[in-house]
Symmetry: C2
Subunit: 131 residues, 2 copies
Amino acid sequence: MGRRAVVPEQVRAVMAGGGRHCWTLAELQEGLGALGVVPDPSTVFRAVGRLEASGVVRRVELDERRAHFELAGEHHEHLVCDGCGEVEAVPCALVVTWVEEVRRECGFEVSDHEVLLRGRCRRCRRPGQQP
Amino acid sequence: MGRRAVVPEQVRAVMAGGGRHCWTLAELQEGLGALGVVPDPSTVFRAVGRLEASGVVRRVELDERRAHFELAGEHHEHLVCDGCGEVEAVPCALVVTWVEEVRRECGFEVSDHEVLLRGRCRRCRRPGQQP
DNA sequence: CTGGATGCAAATGTTTTGCAGCATG
DNA sequence: CATGCTGCAAAACATTTGCATCCAG
């Protein structure tokens, strides 16, 4: 019964394959285009919505203008470079201690965290390469 | 020469006075209304823009739907409660050590940070008060 | 047939800009 | 006067929804 959903799996493939840590809807659509698929924006929107509901994809609060998503299994903290705008990632580890302290001192039960660090990446810190 | 800008200072007053940690443009306009001023949304937008440019106000990436702002001097980390939606704040301290480690291990020079913790606040953890 | 995914178009909500008017120095 | 803030209106932009269609079981 019903039609089989194909776009969500393609979106997942794009996110797993690309050299990007987090994706906007437009970037996902562009990535799908590279696979020869050109779905409607609303279809991408709904596909990501389903992936998010099923826990495969995670919403990331990175930029207040557009939504960003990443694969849920790949959670990491984000380093946004003021120079080139690239988004690096580092695995989250130290945050755990911070979370503990918040629970103890504020009575706040943390279930999810997001760390955003802005600054200059190694490349942009090298002189002669500033954008 | 020129007209003296009045709205930016009023916006600043609202942010300094209210019991809120960060403000959307709409919330700022509402706050201004409580002071008897009802400027146009675009005026609030430009006022915040000026305050941000002059370093008085800081943009906070909290929700991807609307922009949030806080007073630059009052930076803190944010605790967003999944229950009531309230935004608490804790002063940032431990983040410094984390920042150090990122610089050392990733070569990333951090100039700004933002920590977002989601979970349940003390009140919402108490049974019988879940929204 | 039936249920669900998809495309198209339009609604929504917020941010952003263009332009004319006006107040202030 | 000349500068630059302000309001009004509209544009721009991304998200979200309604509806008709199409496809697989």
